[in-house]
């Protein structure tokens, strides 16, 4: 690729980033119809471009699993099964319609069931993890374990039903000490996010554009 085209490509992407960001900001802060129209149109464009990212998973999985099947890697029969299932799913899903009751039943019975089960297993790992790690050897661990167990109990129905004040205490803990520290994290995250945005606008942060070689 020639130096001229690399130069154009690099600066073109930076110009697009700045124009898009400034248009979005100006569309919000200035009550001027043409700017709002540009800003809104860019939002719609962004939404449309994002639609295509739904196909990236298909390309990646097919590339990886096909290689695995051809090379007879570990678990290659499962990878072949996966590729076949994807093809069947796409064809059948388009035929019956994604918002049909049959598709909904299929989706809930497979993907959602599995996802719920995977997350549901976390309680098992959490409890065995807590058994091993909540060993009180310092004040920090003691405070951490105390408040974890306290809020677990303060959410327990047989305890809070006869003593509603305990439920009030649970909400007090959630809305005061817990919220305060969460607020500090949110504010720090906000500061970090704004600084990151400014760095992107100034071209200091290449970030996601690196993957396209756009820097």
């Amino acid at each position: 690729m020639s130096a001229t085209s690399t130069y154009v490509r690099t600066y073109l992407t930076r110009i697009v980033v700045v124009v898009a960001a400034v248009a979005t900001l100006a569309g919000y802060y200035f009550a001027y119809e043409p700017i709002s129209t540009v800003s809104n149109e860019l939002n719609i464009w962004s939404s449309l471009i994002t639609s295509f990212t739904l196909f990236v998973g298909l390309i990646s999985v097919f590339a990886r699993y096909s290689r695995s099947v051809m090379n007879r890697d570990n678990n290659w029969p499962f990878h072949l099964y996966c590729l076949a299932m994807i093809v069947v799913w796409i064809i059948w899903g388009n035929m019956i319609g994604m918002y049909s009751t049959l598709y909904q039943t299929l989706y809930m019975s497979t993907k959602i069931t599995l996802h719920i089960t995977i997350i549901g297993q976390l309680i098992f790992f959490s409890v065995s993890g807590m058994y091993r790690t909540f060993r009180i050897k310092s004040l920090r661990t003691a405070v951490f374990a105390f408040f974890t167990v306290l809020i677990v109990f303060l959410n327990m129905p047989p305890l809070i039903a006869p003593f509603p004040a305990l439920s009030t205490a649970a909400y007090w803990l959630l809305d005061n000490p817990q919220m305060a520290a969460a607020r500090a994290m949110v504010m720090c995250g906000g500061i970090g996010g704004v600084i990151l945005g400014i760095r992107i606008l100034l071209g200091i942060e290449k970030g996601a554009l690196r993957v396209t070689g756009g820097d």
């Binding site: 464009w45 295509f52 993907k111 959630l174 994290m185 756009g214």
Partner: protein, 214 residues
Amino acid sequence: MISTDPWIWLSALLSLSCFSLLYGDNKFFRWAETTYTAAVVGHSVVTGLLTLRDRLYPLYTGTNLLLIIPAILGVLSLLVVWRQYAWMASVSMAVLIGVNTGISIRTLMGTDIIGNTRAVIGEASTIVAADASMMTKFGYLIRVVFTITALLYFLFTIFPRKGTAATAFDVIRDVGKYALIIYMGISLGNSMQQFVGTATSAIYRLTGLWLGLG
């Protein structure tokens, strides 16, 4: 009574295969895992095709011909998976990054920073307000103190090392550190509801829907 619905049987077999991970890695779990992958990828493609049909509707009907530009950019964005041609996705990524940067700067400033700062100031004034209960005032005192000390703990990496100021900073940072530990403890304890509930839902599929118990 055991269900005769084939979908519930499929759901039950997948659940049991997934739970078998607790026993150890095995072929049943692998089957469940690859079924999950296939469902996720298949669903995203079906969603993508339908979404494109819907989003490009104004283009088909001629009401917004400008949409041809993002349509082309969208197709180019798929080339990001090939290293050799990834550069062609640059402009598409630039549009996404630009728009989302603009939105996040304004929303983070407005809500996360200014909104929360305003709340802290309001709560600080309520501490001295005459018409609030002692518990409310104490709660607001906790909020203000914990927010400020936790912020100082996060943000100030340079601090005095000698003298009274150093001692004061150490105390403030310790309070901030324990505020964060309390936050982590309470949020972990509260999140047990979610894990228990999701496991309950998974087990109900087996016992209630499949085996007809309970």
